[in-house]
Symmetry: C2
Subunit: 215 residues, 2 copies
DNA sequence: GTCTATAAGCGGATAGAC
DNA sequence: GTCTATCCGCTTATAGAC
């Protein structure tokens, strides 16, 4: 996973990064920024709000990240790193049903545990992915192509219902991330969320039925 | 559909609405506003950009909609009106497979023809639906409950694979709207979009396989 | 109804003390 | 490294002529 690793290093473009307290601050700033950017988008996010949430002053935040755009970029990179892990790790050795079951389960756990990361990523893509489009076209595309080939093999062997593998991946992403991105709607309609174990199980079974063609 | 109709009237809160040219302007403003809000979000949208796209000056736009928030509200209402139509119209008389096939197809056509409306709606929900949450909890919830009951009947009769009807609806929304909301990612990975008839067919078949359990 | 000019305020970024 | 105070551009919204 070239992109993910390549992106991880430059958390703090503005300084040497040698201090202890500074590194802890950077983590808190990135956490705060994720929450605010995911809620209000890049334009709507206020540096004051991020700084307050991170427990420092606005000029002090700007000491670590010179501009709002720098901060947004850092958050996006850190998020993408994490976001691509499940697909990269999808078990290619074990049997198809177990591998896909594990992948769907992992994706739902991510949607439950990191809904803000999901929404940040969604907002970036909905804007036309101005920052991420190169990574999507190169690294993610390579990964998807290899996984699609694997899925096609499994379909040939009769382990999965035959369908276009790319669209199967889109279906898994769309359905699992829906519970994070549209959590407000899901909550309004059902009163529940993935935090309820029973609801998590319902969602998991529904997605797996669609993916595997059977429970 | 109480909500949808109830929302339609107050396109132009600021004035009498008697003039001919004025009504045409309002339509052009709403079209322009949809495009800009869907791309940049509420905070990122610039009134200048909307006015220019609509072909009039910024103060003139503000003659029709007193504030940016009024304009956003009007666009959202008009969009929701349209957005709920397919579910409301899902044919309850014809046989289950035909009704669901028609619904999926219609939703995909909407995703193809009105991707900006899909993204505007998605952004509002991702923000926690501050404007729409009452409508989601009341009108949409009623509609969903009735449709879920219908789907449960069809499952009881053996026409559809048994699964939680609510999650089946979420799956249909998530998968179809994915091709609009994540169009940039789909394009980066496949080079295609729903505008390509072949790709539209692939997507449709993939979704229908998941919904019906067979092609 | 439509415009030009302008007011008013917000928010990103900087200066400089500690 | 962290703060207070402040600058300055940008954007919404208004005033008022046509």
């Amino acid at each position: 996973m070239g992109a993910a690793n390549r992106l991880a290093e430059l958390a703090s473009p503005g300084h040497t990064g040698k201090t202890r307290g500074g590194e802890a601050n950077i983590e808190r700033i990135l956490d705060a920024a994720l929450a605010v950017f995911a809620m209000d988008g890049f334009a709507g996010a206020r540096i004051d709000a991020i700084a307050e949430r991170a427990g420092l002053s606005k000029p002090n935040l700007l000491y670590y990240f010179r501009t709002k755009a720098d901060l947004y970029l850092a958050v996006l990179r850190r998020t993408l790193d994490m976001w691509l892990v499940p697909l990269a790790e999808m078990d290619t050795q074990s049997d198809p049903v177990a591998a896909l079951t594990g992948y769907v389960t992992r994706k739902l756990e991510y949607a439950r545990d990191f809904p803000e990361a999901s929404r940040l990523f969604a907002m970036e893509v909905m804007r036309g992915a101005p920052i991420l489009h190169t990574i999507l076209e190169n690294d993610l595309k390579r990964l998807v192509t290899s996984r699609a080939a694997l899925l096609a093999q499994w379909m040939d062997a009769g382990h999965l219902p035959r369908r276009d593998p790319k669209h199967l991946l889109f279906l898994i992403w769309a359905t699992t991330q829906h519970y994070a991105d549209f959590a407000a709607q899901v909550k309004a309609l059902t009163g529940q969320s993935l935090d309820d174990p029973g609801f998590f199980g319902e969602a998991r079974r529904a997605v797996l039925l669609a993916v595997l063609g059977r429970s």
